[in-house]
């Protein structure tokens, strides 16, 4: 696992983080539910809690879908290519490429390889980018959520040991007992 330079993290007084969606995206509840599941995976292994807010006022994290040049100096590049990016703590900026075809998968499936390579599994990207929002950099461990690339159609949403060790290096474990790390075999792989 790796961190941003200087190892930024959310300050101790910030364990209950609030997030909201850019209103102009008019996202449906089932799309917002995907992000709630993604946040819960990190909450499960840390002392952090995440709460959705309907208003942008006073939130810690703002999530939005944008197309092309969207004013942050990191333009998106159309379908595939770069999928999303997120800032290090405590900025809380999470942008996804509005040119992608996003797949909303059944939450029960944790790993899947699809022959359809031109859609992107939304939850897989959300779990990865939330890792950045919390302070993790990229990992060379191919099974890790923080590995930088994912093939179209693939789904990888369970935190690997590498991800959990990295995030707990920053925040410690979940005081109510850590989530278990399942290898693909245990959690079941839907090919």
């Amino acid at each position: 696992y790796s961190f941003f330079p200087g190892k930024p993290r959310w300050p101790k007084r910030k364990r209950d983080l609030r997030y909201a969606f850019a209103p102009q995206n008019n996202l449906t509840d089932d799309v917002k539910e995907v992000f709630a599941r993604a946040f819960a995976r990190w909450a499960n292994v840390t002392p952090l809690n995440f709460t959705r807010s309907e208003s942008l006022i006073g939130v810690d994290i703002v999530i939005g879908f944008f197309v092309g040049d969207h004013g942050d100096g990191e333009p998106f590049d159309g379908a595939m290519g770069t999928l999303a990016h997120a800032s290090s703590p405590p900025t809380g900026m999470f942008h996804l490429d509005g040119d992608e075809d996003w797949l909303i998968s059944d939450g029960e499936i944790s790993r899947r390889i699809l022959p359809v390579t031109s859609v992107v599994d939304l939850e897989s990207v959300a779990v990865h980018e939330i890792g950045h929002l919390l302070g993790l950099g990229h990992s060379s461990v191919e099974d890790a959520i923080m590995f930088p690339a994912i093939s179209g159609g693939d789904r990888k949403v369970e935190l690997a040991k590498d991800d959990i060790e990295g995030i707990q290096h920053l925040y410690g474990g979940n005081p109510n007992g850590d989530g278990k790390t399942n290898s693909g075999a245990e959690s079941g792989v839907d090919w």
Binding site: Y1, S2, F3, F4, P5, T28, D30, V31, E74, F76, D77, G78, A79, M80, G81, T82, L83, A84, H85, A86, D99, E100, D101, W102, L103, I104, S105, D106, L114, V116, T117, S118, V119, V120, L122, V125, H128, E129, H132, G137, H138, S139, S140, E142, P148, A149, I150, S151, G152
Partner: protein
Amino acid sequence: KFYHNVSSIPPLQFLNATRSAWETFEKLAGCHVGDKADGLSKLKQYFRRFGYISAASVVDNFTDDFDDVLRSAVNTYQRNFNLKVTGKLDASTLRQIVKPRCGNPDMIDGTSEMNAGKKLRTTER
């Protein structure tokens, strides 16, 4: 667009992703230092975007020459992605390059904490 299950995904031609922006890199297969090939300048932009070529070390417009700066970027990228470190654009390296990915860089200010940045601890046996 959001698709709610695999069966609702239309045939490829109706999807946005006709071709990824980076699939043009596949024609650079086999290139190595000393070569000149159309498209190497775009690959250098790719490597700069993800931190493998620091903004300070290049002039504004990249050339299509496979120079030492590009070889160094390819070497580091191959280490970070657990690929055989050849410094060349071999098939497995290009396959990894064209995959969709996170827009955050792998290297910041020329340093990486992925494989390439780890001091490999070897123990004398």
